[in-house]
Protein backbone atom coordinates (compact mmCIF):
# COMPACT_ATOMS: atom_id res chain seq x y z
CA UNK A 1 0.00 0.00 0.00
CA UNK A 2 1.17 3.48 -0.86
CA UNK A 3 1.80 5.67 2.17
CA UNK A 4 -0.08 8.97 2.39
CA UNK A 5 2.39 10.66 4.70
CA UNK A 6 6.11 10.06 4.76
CA UNK A 7 8.63 11.47 7.21
CA UNK A 8 12.15 11.28 5.86
CA UNK A 9 15.00 11.74 8.30
CA UNK A 10 13.44 14.75 9.89
CA UNK A 11 15.68 16.73 12.24
CA UNK A 12 14.99 19.78 14.27
CA UNK A 13 17.47 21.82 16.21
CA UNK A 14 16.28 24.66 18.43
CA UNK A 15 19.22 26.65 19.69
CA UNK A 16 21.75 24.07 20.80
CA UNK A 17 19.09 21.43 21.47
CA UNK A 18 18.75 18.63 18.99
CA UNK A 19 15.03 18.19 19.61
CA UNK A 20 14.08 15.75 16.87
CA UNK A 21 16.60 13.17 15.72
CA UNK A 22 16.38 11.48 12.32
CA UNK A 23 12.69 10.76 12.52
CA UNK A 24 11.39 8.56 9.71
CA UNK A 25 8.09 6.73 9.40
CA UNK A 26 5.15 6.21 7.08
CA UNK A 27 1.45 6.52 7.65
CA UNK A 28 -1.07 4.71 5.44
CA UNK A 29 -4.62 5.56 4.38
CA UNK A 30 -7.32 4.08 6.58
CA UNK A 31 -5.16 3.53 9.64
CA UNK A 32 -5.06 5.19 13.00
CA UNK A 33 -1.46 5.86 13.85
CA UNK A 34 -0.62 6.57 17.46
CA UNK A 35 2.23 8.83 18.31
CA UNK A 36 3.19 7.98 21.85
CA UNK A 37 5.71 9.48 24.19
CA UNK A 38 6.03 11.17 27.53
CA UNK A 39 5.50 14.91 27.75
CA UNK A 40 8.45 16.70 26.24
CA UNK A 41 9.47 13.80 23.99
CA UNK A 42 8.96 15.86 20.84
CA UNK A 43 5.44 14.86 19.82
CA UNK A 44 4.10 18.35 19.44
CA UNK A 45 7.23 19.60 17.72
CA UNK A 46 6.92 16.78 15.19
CA UNK A 47 3.25 17.57 14.66
CA UNK A 48 4.05 21.25 14.20
CA UNK A 49 6.53 20.31 11.49
CA UNK A 50 3.96 18.04 9.81
CA UNK A 51 1.51 20.92 9.49
CA UNK A 52 4.10 23.51 8.48
CA UNK A 53 3.98 25.62 11.63
CA UNK A 54 7.66 24.89 12.25
CA UNK A 55 10.42 24.46 9.74
CA UNK A 56 12.62 21.38 9.64
CA UNK A 57 16.36 21.71 10.16
CA UNK A 58 16.86 18.86 7.71
CA UNK A 59 14.86 16.09 6.11
CA UNK A 60 11.47 16.29 4.49
CA UNK A 61 7.83 15.41 5.01
CA UNK A 62 5.90 14.25 1.96
CA UNK A 63 2.10 14.30 1.97
CA UNK A 64 0.37 12.54 -0.90
CA UNK A 65 3.46 13.05 -3.03
CA UNK A 66 3.86 16.75 -2.19
CA UNK A 67 6.91 17.84 -0.26
CA UNK A 68 6.07 20.24 2.52
CA UNK A 69 9.29 22.05 1.67
CA UNK A 70 8.76 22.56 -2.03
CA UNK A 71 4.99 22.60 -2.45
CA UNK A 72 3.58 23.49 0.93
CA UNK A 73 0.23 24.65 -0.45
CA UNK A 74 -0.42 21.38 -2.27
CA UNK A 75 0.64 19.40 0.78
CA UNK A 76 -1.58 21.40 3.15
CA UNK A 77 -4.67 20.75 1.05
CA UNK A 78 -4.57 17.16 2.27
CA UNK A 79 -4.19 17.93 5.94
CA UNK A 80 -6.68 18.68 8.64
CA UNK A 81 -5.36 19.20 12.13
CA UNK A 82 -5.80 20.26 15.70
CA UNK A 83 -2.51 21.31 17.25
CA UNK A 84 -2.67 21.16 21.04
CA UNK A 85 -5.99 22.65 22.08
CA UNK A 86 -8.67 23.47 19.54
CA UNK A 87 -8.41 27.23 19.93
CA UNK A 88 -11.11 28.92 17.92
CA UNK A 89 -12.25 32.54 18.06
CA UNK A 90 -14.19 32.74 21.34
CA UNK A 91 -16.17 35.86 20.40
CA UNK A 92 -17.70 34.27 17.30
CA UNK A 93 -20.33 31.57 16.98
CA UNK A 94 -19.28 28.04 16.12
CA UNK A 95 -20.85 28.50 12.71
CA UNK A 96 -18.94 31.71 11.95
CA UNK A 97 -15.71 30.00 13.02
CA UNK A 98 -16.37 27.23 10.53
CA UNK A 99 -17.27 29.71 7.78
CA UNK A 100 -13.99 31.49 8.50
CA UNK A 101 -11.91 28.36 7.99
CA UNK A 102 -14.03 27.17 5.08
CA UNK A 103 -13.17 30.35 3.19
CA UNK A 104 -9.50 29.48 3.48
CA UNK A 105 -9.77 26.38 1.32
CA UNK A 106 -11.34 26.09 -2.11
CA UNK A 107 -14.55 24.21 -2.66
CA UNK A 108 -16.04 24.02 0.83
CA UNK A 109 -19.74 24.72 0.37
CA UNK A 110 -22.28 25.80 2.99
CA UNK A 111 -23.84 22.36 2.55
CA UNK A 112 -20.52 20.76 3.48
CA UNK A 113 -20.26 22.90 6.62
CA UNK A 114 -23.76 21.77 7.64
CA UNK A 115 -22.80 18.17 6.98
CA UNK A 116 -19.71 18.42 9.18
CA UNK A 117 -21.67 20.11 11.95
CA UNK A 118 -24.16 17.23 11.86
CA UNK A 119 -21.30 14.74 11.83
CA UNK A 120 -19.81 16.06 15.07
CA UNK A 121 -23.25 16.51 16.63
CA UNK A 122 -23.18 20.26 17.21
CA UNK A 123 -26.27 21.20 15.19
CA UNK A 124 -28.21 22.52 18.18
CA UNK A 125 -25.48 24.73 19.58
CA UNK A 126 -23.69 25.83 16.44
CA UNK A 127 -25.01 29.41 16.64
CA UNK A 128 -23.81 29.91 20.20
CA UNK A 129 -20.63 31.85 20.81
CA UNK A 130 -17.63 29.60 21.30
CA UNK A 131 -16.78 31.04 24.73
CA UNK A 132 -19.99 29.42 25.97
CA UNK A 133 -18.88 25.97 24.78
CA UNK A 134 -17.69 23.21 27.09
CA UNK A 135 -14.29 21.68 26.45
CA UNK A 136 -15.92 18.68 24.78
CA UNK A 137 -17.88 20.91 22.44
CA UNK A 138 -14.76 22.83 21.57
CA UNK A 139 -12.99 19.60 20.81
CA UNK A 140 -15.82 18.63 18.47
CA UNK A 141 -15.78 22.03 16.80
CA UNK A 142 -12.02 21.56 16.41
CA UNK A 143 -12.57 18.26 14.67
CA UNK A 144 -15.23 19.89 12.49
CA UNK A 145 -12.84 22.58 11.26
CA UNK A 146 -10.22 19.92 10.55
CA UNK A 147 -12.68 17.91 8.41
CA UNK A 148 -14.22 20.73 6.35
CA UNK A 149 -12.04 20.23 3.28
CA UNK A 150 -12.14 16.40 3.36
CA UNK A 151 -8.46 15.89 4.23
CA UNK A 152 -6.74 12.59 3.58
CA UNK A 153 -4.61 12.98 6.70
CA UNK A 154 -6.15 14.04 9.98
CA UNK A 155 -3.75 15.03 12.75
CA UNK A 156 -5.10 15.25 16.26
CA UNK A 157 -2.84 16.31 19.08
CA UNK A 158 -4.08 14.82 22.38
CA UNK A 159 -7.66 14.57 21.13
CA UNK A 160 -9.16 13.25 24.34
CA UNK A 161 -7.38 15.71 26.58
CA UNK A 162 -9.78 17.19 29.09
CA UNK A 163 -12.77 15.12 28.03
CA UNK A 164 -14.98 13.15 30.37
CA UNK A 165 -15.08 9.36 29.92
CA UNK A 166 -18.16 9.38 27.71
CA UNK A 167 -16.68 12.14 25.57
CA UNK A 168 -13.46 10.15 25.23
CA UNK A 169 -15.34 7.06 24.18
CA UNK A 170 -17.29 9.03 21.61
CA UNK A 171 -14.19 10.60 20.11
CA UNK A 172 -12.45 7.22 19.95
CA UNK A 173 -15.38 5.63 18.13
CA UNK A 174 -15.52 8.58 15.83
CA UNK A 175 -11.82 8.43 14.97
CA UNK A 176 -12.07 4.72 14.17
CA UNK A 177 -15.08 5.35 11.98
CA UNK A 178 -13.31 8.07 10.03
CA UNK A 179 -10.38 5.80 9.31
CA UNK A 180 -12.45 2.78 8.32
CA UNK A 181 -15.31 4.44 6.45
CA UNK A 182 -13.64 7.47 4.89
CA UNK A 183 -10.23 5.86 4.49
CA UNK A 184 -8.62 8.81 6.23
CA UNK A 185 -5.21 8.37 7.82
CA UNK A 186 -5.54 9.59 11.38
CA UNK A 187 -2.47 10.50 13.40
CA UNK A 188 -3.16 10.76 17.09
CA UNK A 189 -0.69 11.82 19.73
CA UNK A 190 -0.93 11.03 23.40
CA UNK A 191 1.12 10.25 26.45
CA UNK A 192 -1.45 7.78 27.73
CA UNK A 193 -0.83 4.30 26.45
CA UNK A 194 -4.16 2.68 27.34
CA UNK A 195 -5.85 5.44 25.33
CA UNK A 196 -3.72 4.59 22.35
CA UNK A 197 -4.31 0.88 22.54
CA UNK A 198 -8.03 1.47 22.36
CA UNK A 199 -8.03 3.45 19.16
CA UNK A 200 -4.82 2.87 17.20
CA UNK A 201 -3.77 0.30 14.63
CA UNK A 202 -0.10 1.08 15.02
CA UNK A 203 1.83 2.91 17.66
CA UNK A 204 5.12 4.71 17.25
CA UNK A 205 6.96 5.43 20.46
CA UNK A 206 9.05 8.56 20.62
CA UNK A 207 11.43 9.41 23.41
CA UNK A 208 13.83 12.33 23.64
CA UNK A 209 13.22 13.13 20.00
CA UNK A 210 14.02 9.65 18.74
CA UNK A 211 11.63 7.10 17.31
CA UNK A 212 12.17 4.02 19.48
CA UNK A 213 9.87 1.54 17.85
CA UNK A 214 6.73 1.15 15.82
CA UNK A 215 4.47 -1.78 16.32
CA UNK A 216 0.99 -2.78 15.45
CA UNK A 217 -1.36 -3.05 18.39
CA UNK A 218 -2.65 -6.51 17.40
CA UNK A 219 0.84 -7.91 17.01
CA UNK A 220 1.77 -6.66 20.39
CA UNK A 221 -1.18 -8.23 22.09
CA UNK A 222 -0.87 -11.62 20.32
CA UNK A 223 2.71 -12.03 21.43
CA UNK A 224 2.05 -10.74 24.86
CA UNK A 225 1.71 -12.96 27.89
CA UNK A 226 -1.63 -13.35 29.54
CA UNK A 227 -2.25 -12.90 33.18
CA UNK A 228 -4.44 -15.87 34.21
CA UNK A 229 -6.36 -15.96 37.47
CA UNK A 230 -7.84 -19.30 38.47
CA UNK A 231 -10.40 -19.70 41.21
CA UNK A 232 -10.70 -23.33 42.29
CA UNK A 233 -10.75 -25.68 45.32
CA UNK A 234 -8.82 -27.24 46.84
CA UNK A 235 -6.33 -24.52 46.14
CA UNK A 236 -3.33 -26.56 47.25
CA UNK A 237 -3.91 -29.06 44.44
CA UNK A 238 -4.26 -26.26 41.96
CA UNK A 239 -1.02 -24.75 43.11
CA UNK A 240 0.81 -28.07 42.77
CA UNK A 241 -0.50 -28.63 39.24
CA UNK A 242 0.45 -25.10 38.21
CA UNK A 243 3.94 -25.39 39.60
CA UNK A 244 4.59 -28.25 37.24
CA UNK A 245 3.80 -25.96 34.33
CA UNK A 246 5.16 -22.55 35.29
CA UNK A 247 7.81 -21.14 37.56
CA UNK A 248 5.92 -18.43 39.39
CA UNK A 249 2.58 -18.97 41.03
CA UNK A 250 0.91 -16.44 43.24
CA UNK A 251 -1.62 -17.89 45.64
CA UNK A 252 -4.13 -15.83 47.50
CA UNK A 253 -7.19 -17.22 49.29
CA UNK A 254 -8.92 -19.45 46.75
CA UNK A 255 -7.17 -18.07 43.68
CA UNK A 256 -3.91 -18.65 41.89
CA UNK A 257 -2.36 -16.23 39.49
CA UNK A 258 0.13 -17.09 36.74
CA UNK A 259 1.55 -15.44 33.65
CA UNK A 260 1.74 -17.51 30.47
CA UNK A 261 1.20 -17.44 26.72
CA UNK A 262 -2.36 -17.65 25.49
CA UNK A 263 -2.01 -21.05 23.75
CA UNK A 264 -1.01 -22.80 26.95
CA UNK A 265 -4.28 -22.07 28.71
CA UNK A 266 -6.33 -25.03 27.27
CA UNK A 267 -3.63 -27.52 28.32
CA UNK A 268 -3.57 -26.25 31.86
CA UNK A 269 -7.35 -26.29 32.09
CA UNK A 270 -7.42 -29.94 31.03
CA UNK A 271 -4.80 -30.85 33.66
CA UNK A 272 -6.77 -29.09 36.36
CA UNK A 273 -9.97 -30.92 35.44
CA UNK A 274 -8.10 -34.23 35.39
CA UNK A 275 -6.81 -33.49 38.90
CA UNK A 276 -10.38 -33.37 40.15
CA UNK A 277 -10.42 -29.83 41.41
CA UNK A 278 -13.57 -27.72 41.32
CA UNK A 279 -12.94 -24.88 38.94
CA UNK A 280 -15.16 -21.85 39.58
CA UNK A 281 -13.62 -19.41 37.16
CA UNK A 282 -10.67 -18.82 34.88
CA UNK A 283 -10.12 -15.18 34.21
CA UNK A 284 -7.59 -13.85 31.73
CA UNK A 285 -6.24 -10.38 31.18
CA UNK A 286 -3.96 -9.15 28.39
CA UNK A 287 -0.70 -7.76 29.55
CA UNK A 288 -0.77 -4.31 28.03
CA UNK A 289 1.88 -2.57 26.02
CA UNK A 290 2.53 -0.68 29.16
CA UNK A 291 5.36 -2.85 30.40
CA UNK A 292 7.07 -2.64 27.06
CA UNK A 293 6.44 1.05 26.95
CA UNK A 294 7.87 1.60 30.40
CA UNK A 295 10.84 -0.61 29.61
CA UNK A 296 11.53 1.50 26.53
CA UNK A 297 11.12 4.78 28.34
CA UNK A 298 13.20 3.35 31.16
CA UNK A 299 14.43 6.10 33.37
CA UNK A 300 11.74 8.47 32.14
CA UNK A 301 14.27 11.26 32.12
CA UNK A 302 13.63 14.05 29.68
CA UNK A 303 16.81 15.44 28.29
Amino acid sequence: MESIMKLQQVNKTIGSHHVIKDLSFDVYPGEVFGFLGPNGAGKTTTIRMMVGLMSMSSGDIVIDGHSIHKSRKQAMKHIGAIVENPEMYPFMSGWKNLVHFARMTDGVTTERIREVVRLVGLTNRINDKVHKYSLGMRQRLGIAQALLHRPSVLILDEPTNGLDPSGMKEIRAYIRKLAKVENVAVIVSSHILSEMEMMCDRIGVIHNGELINIQSVEEATADADMEVTIEATPISVVERVLREEVEQVMTKNDTCQVVLEKDRIPGITTRLVESNVNVYSIYTQKKTLEDQFLKVIGDGVIE
Partner: protein, 315 residues
Protein backbone atom coordinates in the same frame (compact mmCIF):
# COMPACT_ATOMS: atom_id res chain seq x y z
CA UNK B 1 -6.57 29.32 -5.40
CA UNK B 2 -7.72 31.14 -2.30
CA UNK B 3 -8.39 34.71 -3.26
CA UNK B 4 -7.16 37.58 -1.16
CA UNK B 5 -10.63 39.08 -0.91
CA UNK B 6 -11.90 35.99 0.91
CA UNK B 7 -9.15 36.43 3.50
CA UNK B 8 -9.98 40.11 3.84
CA UNK B 9 -13.63 39.15 4.31
CA UNK B 10 -12.49 36.89 7.16
CA UNK B 11 -10.45 39.60 8.83
CA UNK B 12 -13.28 42.08 8.47
CA UNK B 13 -15.70 39.59 10.04
CA UNK B 14 -13.36 38.96 12.98
CA UNK B 15 -12.88 42.70 13.45
CA UNK B 16 -16.58 43.45 13.64
CA UNK B 17 -17.43 40.42 15.74
CA UNK B 18 -15.35 41.92 18.52
CA UNK B 19 -17.18 44.23 20.86
CA UNK B 20 -14.18 46.54 21.27
CA UNK B 21 -14.40 47.57 17.61
CA UNK B 22 -17.97 48.72 18.04
CA UNK B 23 -17.17 50.52 21.25
CA UNK B 24 -14.49 52.51 19.43
CA UNK B 25 -16.82 53.42 16.57
CA UNK B 26 -19.69 54.46 18.84
CA UNK B 27 -17.39 56.43 21.12
CA UNK B 28 -15.98 58.22 18.11
CA UNK B 29 -19.39 59.16 16.70
CA UNK B 30 -20.53 60.39 20.11
CA UNK B 31 -17.46 62.60 20.42
CA UNK B 32 -18.08 64.27 17.09
CA UNK B 33 -21.77 64.85 17.81
CA UNK B 34 -20.85 66.18 21.25
CA UNK B 35 -18.30 68.52 19.75
CA UNK B 36 -20.87 69.82 17.25
CA UNK B 37 -23.31 70.55 20.08
CA UNK B 38 -20.57 72.25 22.06
CA UNK B 39 -19.70 74.44 19.08
CA UNK B 40 -23.28 75.64 18.56
CA UNK B 41 -24.04 76.44 22.18
CA UNK B 42 -20.79 77.43 23.84
CA UNK B 43 -18.32 78.56 21.30
CA UNK B 44 -20.37 79.90 18.43
CA UNK B 45 -18.11 82.42 16.72
CA UNK B 46 -20.68 85.16 16.73
CA UNK B 47 -18.62 87.94 15.23
CA UNK B 48 -21.11 88.95 12.62
CA UNK B 49 -19.76 91.25 9.99
CA UNK B 50 -22.28 93.64 8.57
CA UNK B 51 -22.39 95.79 5.47
CA UNK B 52 -19.29 97.77 6.36
CA UNK B 53 -17.10 94.72 7.05
CA UNK B 54 -14.13 96.47 5.48
CA UNK B 55 -14.13 99.06 8.18
CA UNK B 56 -14.56 96.38 10.85
CA UNK B 57 -11.57 94.47 9.56
CA UNK B 58 -9.47 97.60 9.53
CA UNK B 59 -10.36 98.25 13.15
CA UNK B 60 -9.43 94.67 13.99
CA UNK B 61 -6.08 95.15 12.34
CA UNK B 62 -5.42 98.31 14.33
CA UNK B 63 -6.26 96.48 17.50
CA UNK B 64 -3.98 93.57 16.59
CA UNK B 65 -1.08 95.87 15.77
CA UNK B 66 -1.19 97.38 19.25
CA UNK B 67 -1.60 93.94 20.81
CA UNK B 68 1.45 92.73 18.92
CA UNK B 69 3.64 95.27 20.63
CA UNK B 70 2.41 94.18 24.06
CA UNK B 71 2.74 90.45 23.49
CA UNK B 72 5.47 89.71 20.99
CA UNK B 73 4.89 85.96 21.45
CA UNK B 74 1.72 86.09 19.37
CA UNK B 75 3.26 88.33 16.74
CA UNK B 76 3.51 85.63 14.08
CA UNK B 77 -0.09 84.60 14.37
CA UNK B 78 -1.37 88.18 14.50
CA UNK B 79 0.80 89.17 11.58
CA UNK B 80 -0.80 86.41 9.51
CA UNK B 81 -4.28 87.47 10.54
CA UNK B 82 -3.53 91.07 9.56
CA UNK B 83 -2.27 89.94 6.17
CA UNK B 84 -5.38 87.84 5.58
CA UNK B 85 -7.65 90.72 6.54
CA UNK B 86 -5.79 93.10 4.22
CA UNK B 87 -6.11 90.58 1.42
CA UNK B 88 -9.85 90.43 2.00
CA UNK B 89 -10.16 94.19 1.82
CA UNK B 90 -8.05 94.47 -1.33
CA UNK B 91 -9.77 91.66 -3.19
CA UNK B 92 -13.25 92.36 -1.88
CA UNK B 93 -13.77 88.96 -0.26
CA UNK B 94 -16.17 89.36 2.63
CA UNK B 95 -15.34 87.26 5.71
CA UNK B 96 -17.82 84.44 5.92
CA UNK B 97 -19.62 83.28 8.96
CA UNK B 98 -18.64 80.03 10.59
CA UNK B 99 -20.15 77.53 8.15
CA UNK B 100 -20.53 73.78 8.06
CA UNK B 101 -17.36 73.64 6.02
CA UNK B 102 -15.37 75.33 8.73
CA UNK B 103 -16.70 72.66 11.05
CA UNK B 104 -15.56 69.92 8.66
CA UNK B 105 -12.17 71.54 8.41
CA UNK B 106 -11.79 71.90 12.17
CA UNK B 107 -12.75 68.28 12.75
CA UNK B 108 -9.49 67.32 11.12
CA UNK B 109 -8.16 67.09 14.68
CA UNK B 110 -10.19 63.90 15.14
CA UNK B 111 -7.92 62.18 12.64
CA UNK B 112 -5.42 61.63 15.46
CA UNK B 113 -8.15 59.74 17.31
CA UNK B 114 -8.65 57.60 14.21
CA UNK B 115 -4.89 56.99 14.28
CA UNK B 116 -5.19 55.85 17.87
CA UNK B 117 -8.04 53.41 17.11
CA UNK B 118 -6.33 52.11 13.99
CA UNK B 119 -3.12 51.57 15.97
CA UNK B 120 -5.08 49.50 18.47
CA UNK B 121 -6.48 47.38 15.67
CA UNK B 122 -3.18 47.05 13.83
CA UNK B 123 -1.49 46.08 17.09
CA UNK B 124 -4.04 43.37 17.79
CA UNK B 125 -4.46 41.85 14.37
CA UNK B 126 -1.42 39.54 14.57
CA UNK B 127 -0.66 39.54 18.29
CA UNK B 128 -4.20 38.46 19.20
CA UNK B 129 -4.07 35.44 16.90
CA UNK B 130 -1.06 34.30 18.90
CA UNK B 131 -2.72 35.13 22.21
CA UNK B 132 -5.90 33.23 21.30
CA UNK B 133 -3.86 30.36 19.85
CA UNK B 134 -5.92 30.57 16.67
CA UNK B 135 -2.75 31.29 14.70
CA UNK B 136 -2.17 27.53 14.66
CA UNK B 137 -5.43 26.94 12.84
CA UNK B 138 -4.89 29.94 10.58
CA UNK B 139 -1.46 28.96 9.28
CA UNK B 140 -2.16 25.31 8.51
CA UNK B 141 -4.33 26.15 5.49
CA UNK B 142 -3.25 25.96 1.88
CA UNK B 143 -2.65 29.71 1.88
CA UNK B 144 0.74 31.38 1.97
CA UNK B 145 1.67 33.34 5.07
CA UNK B 146 2.37 36.34 2.86
CA UNK B 147 -1.26 36.40 1.75
CA UNK B 148 -2.52 36.14 5.30
CA UNK B 149 -0.27 39.00 6.36
CA UNK B 150 -1.41 41.10 3.40
CA UNK B 151 -5.07 40.48 4.20
CA UNK B 152 -4.50 41.66 7.74
CA UNK B 153 -2.70 44.83 6.72
CA UNK B 154 -5.25 45.69 4.07
CA UNK B 155 -8.06 45.18 6.59
CA UNK B 156 -6.44 47.63 9.00
CA UNK B 157 -6.11 50.19 6.20
CA UNK B 158 -9.72 49.63 5.16
CA UNK B 159 -10.81 50.26 8.73
CA UNK B 160 -8.81 53.49 8.90
CA UNK B 161 -10.22 54.57 5.57
CA UNK B 162 -13.76 53.79 6.67
CA UNK B 163 -13.24 55.92 9.77
CA UNK B 164 -11.79 58.82 7.75
CA UNK B 165 -14.63 58.80 5.25
CA UNK B 166 -17.07 58.43 8.15
CA UNK B 167 -15.54 61.41 9.92
CA UNK B 168 -15.71 63.55 6.80
CA UNK B 169 -19.31 62.62 5.99
CA UNK B 170 -20.53 62.87 9.59
CA UNK B 171 -18.86 66.26 9.96
CA UNK B 172 -20.47 67.41 6.73
CA UNK B 173 -23.89 66.20 7.85
CA UNK B 174 -23.56 67.75 11.29
CA UNK B 175 -22.08 70.92 9.83
CA UNK B 176 -25.00 71.24 7.41
CA UNK B 177 -27.54 70.73 10.19
CA UNK B 178 -25.92 72.97 12.77
CA UNK B 179 -24.32 75.73 10.74
CA UNK B 180 -25.60 75.35 7.19
CA UNK B 181 -23.16 74.22 4.54
CA UNK B 182 -23.02 77.41 2.57
CA UNK B 183 -21.33 76.78 -0.70
CA UNK B 184 -18.43 74.45 -1.26
CA UNK B 185 -16.78 76.95 -3.58
CA UNK B 186 -16.50 79.41 -0.72
CA UNK B 187 -12.92 80.66 -0.88
CA UNK B 188 -10.60 79.72 1.93
CA UNK B 189 -7.59 81.92 2.54
CA UNK B 190 -4.30 80.69 3.91
CA UNK B 191 -0.70 81.77 3.87
CA UNK B 192 1.88 79.86 1.93
CA UNK B 193 5.51 80.92 1.71
CA UNK B 194 4.57 84.30 3.09
CA UNK B 195 1.90 84.90 0.48
CA UNK B 196 -1.84 84.75 0.77
CA UNK B 197 -3.42 81.94 -1.26
CA UNK B 198 -7.00 81.16 -2.10
CA UNK B 199 -8.56 77.72 -2.35
CA UNK B 200 -12.11 76.41 -2.25
CA UNK B 201 -12.88 75.35 1.27
CA UNK B 202 -13.82 71.83 0.21
CA UNK B 203 -10.56 71.38 -1.63
CA UNK B 204 -8.64 72.73 1.33
CA UNK B 205 -10.47 70.41 3.76
CA UNK B 206 -9.79 67.36 1.60
CA UNK B 207 -6.13 68.30 1.35
CA UNK B 208 -5.85 68.69 5.13
CA UNK B 209 -7.53 65.33 5.75
CA UNK B 210 -5.18 63.79 3.24
CA UNK B 211 -2.10 65.20 4.96
CA UNK B 212 -3.30 64.09 8.37
CA UNK B 213 -3.68 60.56 7.02
CA UNK B 214 0.03 60.34 6.25
CA UNK B 215 0.94 60.30 9.92
CA UNK B 216 -1.87 57.81 10.50
CA UNK B 217 -0.55 55.46 7.83
CA UNK B 218 2.99 55.56 9.17
CA UNK B 219 2.02 54.93 12.80
CA UNK B 220 -0.40 52.16 11.89
CA UNK B 221 2.28 50.46 9.81
CA UNK B 222 4.69 50.82 12.71
CA UNK B 223 2.23 49.25 15.17
CA UNK B 224 1.59 46.45 12.67
CA UNK B 225 5.30 45.74 12.48
CA UNK B 226 5.73 45.60 16.26
CA UNK B 227 2.71 43.32 16.46
CA UNK B 228 4.25 40.97 13.91
CA UNK B 229 7.78 41.02 15.29
CA UNK B 230 7.04 40.82 19.02
CA UNK B 231 3.56 39.25 18.89
CA UNK B 232 2.51 41.52 21.70
CA UNK B 233 -0.29 44.01 21.20
CA UNK B 234 0.30 46.03 24.36
CA UNK B 235 3.88 46.68 23.31
CA UNK B 236 2.76 47.68 19.84
CA UNK B 237 0.09 50.06 21.10
CA UNK B 238 2.41 51.54 23.72
CA UNK B 239 5.37 52.24 21.47
CA UNK B 240 3.25 53.55 18.59
CA UNK B 241 1.30 55.96 20.78
CA UNK B 242 4.43 57.05 22.63
CA UNK B 243 6.14 57.87 19.34
CA UNK B 244 3.07 59.60 18.00
CA UNK B 245 2.96 61.87 21.06
CA UNK B 246 6.66 62.57 21.32
CA UNK B 247 7.53 62.60 17.63
CA UNK B 248 7.76 66.37 17.30
CA UNK B 249 9.77 66.73 20.51
CA UNK B 250 12.24 64.14 19.25
CA UNK B 251 12.77 66.16 16.10
CA UNK B 252 13.12 69.42 18.01
CA UNK B 253 15.58 67.81 20.40
CA UNK B 254 17.86 66.63 17.62
CA UNK B 255 17.16 69.48 15.21
CA UNK B 256 20.76 70.73 15.25
CA UNK B 257 22.09 67.34 14.15
CA UNK B 258 22.75 66.78 10.47
CA UNK B 259 20.76 63.57 10.42
CA UNK B 260 17.67 65.10 12.00
CA UNK B 261 15.99 65.37 8.62
CA UNK B 262 16.01 61.58 8.32
CA UNK B 263 13.92 61.17 11.46
CA UNK B 264 10.50 59.85 10.53
CA UNK B 265 8.64 62.58 12.40
CA UNK B 266 10.46 65.42 10.69
CA UNK B 267 8.72 64.23 7.54
CA UNK B 268 5.25 63.05 8.54
CA UNK B 269 3.64 66.50 8.51
CA UNK B 270 3.36 67.28 4.80
CA UNK B 271 1.26 70.32 5.65
CA UNK B 272 4.48 72.05 6.62
CA UNK B 273 5.31 72.45 2.94
CA UNK B 274 1.97 74.09 2.23
CA UNK B 275 2.60 76.55 5.05
CA UNK B 276 6.12 76.98 3.72
CA UNK B 277 7.76 76.69 7.14
CA UNK B 278 9.14 73.14 7.50
CA UNK B 279 10.55 72.02 10.87
CA UNK B 280 13.98 71.74 9.33
CA UNK B 281 14.60 74.40 6.68
CA UNK B 282 16.25 72.20 4.06
CA UNK B 283 13.33 69.75 3.87
CA UNK B 284 11.33 69.56 0.67
CA UNK B 285 8.12 67.75 -0.19
CA UNK B 286 9.91 65.30 -2.52
CA UNK B 287 12.57 64.54 0.08
CA UNK B 288 9.96 63.91 2.78
CA UNK B 289 7.88 61.63 0.60
CA UNK B 290 11.00 59.61 -0.27
CA UNK B 291 11.95 59.28 3.40
CA UNK B 292 8.39 58.20 4.25
CA UNK B 293 8.46 55.62 1.47
CA UNK B 294 11.71 54.15 2.79
CA UNK B 295 10.36 53.89 6.35
CA UNK B 296 7.15 52.34 5.06
CA UNK B 297 9.09 49.75 3.06
CA UNK B 298 11.27 48.94 6.10
CA UNK B 299 8.26 48.44 8.39
CA UNK B 300 6.53 46.20 5.88
CA UNK B 301 9.70 44.21 5.16
CA UNK B 302 10.31 43.58 8.86
CA UNK B 303 6.70 42.47 9.43
CA UNK B 304 6.86 40.17 6.44
CA UNK B 305 10.23 38.60 7.21
CA UNK B 306 9.32 37.70 10.76
CA UNK B 307 5.77 36.59 10.02
CA UNK B 308 6.71 34.30 7.15
CA UNK B 309 9.96 32.87 8.43
CA UNK B 310 9.58 32.36 12.13
CA UNK B 311 8.40 29.09 13.68
CA UNK B 312 5.11 29.03 15.50
CA UNK B 313 6.39 27.32 18.62
CA UNK B 314 4.56 26.25 21.75
CA UNK B 315 2.95 29.05 23.64
Amino acid sequence: MVLLNRLIQNEWMKLFQQRSTWIMIILFACLIVGYALFMTTEAAPSEAYGENWKQQLQEENEQMRTDMEDTPATADYMGEQIRLNEYRIQNNIAPDEFSGWNFVQENRMFVSLISLFSIVIAAGTIANEFRWGSIKLLLIRPVSRTKILASKFITVLLFAMMMLVGLFLLSMALGAIMFGLGTWTEPYLFIQDGEVREMTIMGYSLMQYGFSSVNLLMMVTFAFMISSVFRNSALAIGTAIFLMMTGNSIVTFFSDKAWAKYILFANTDLNQFVRGTPMIPELTMTFSISVLAVYFALFIAASWLVFTKRDVAST
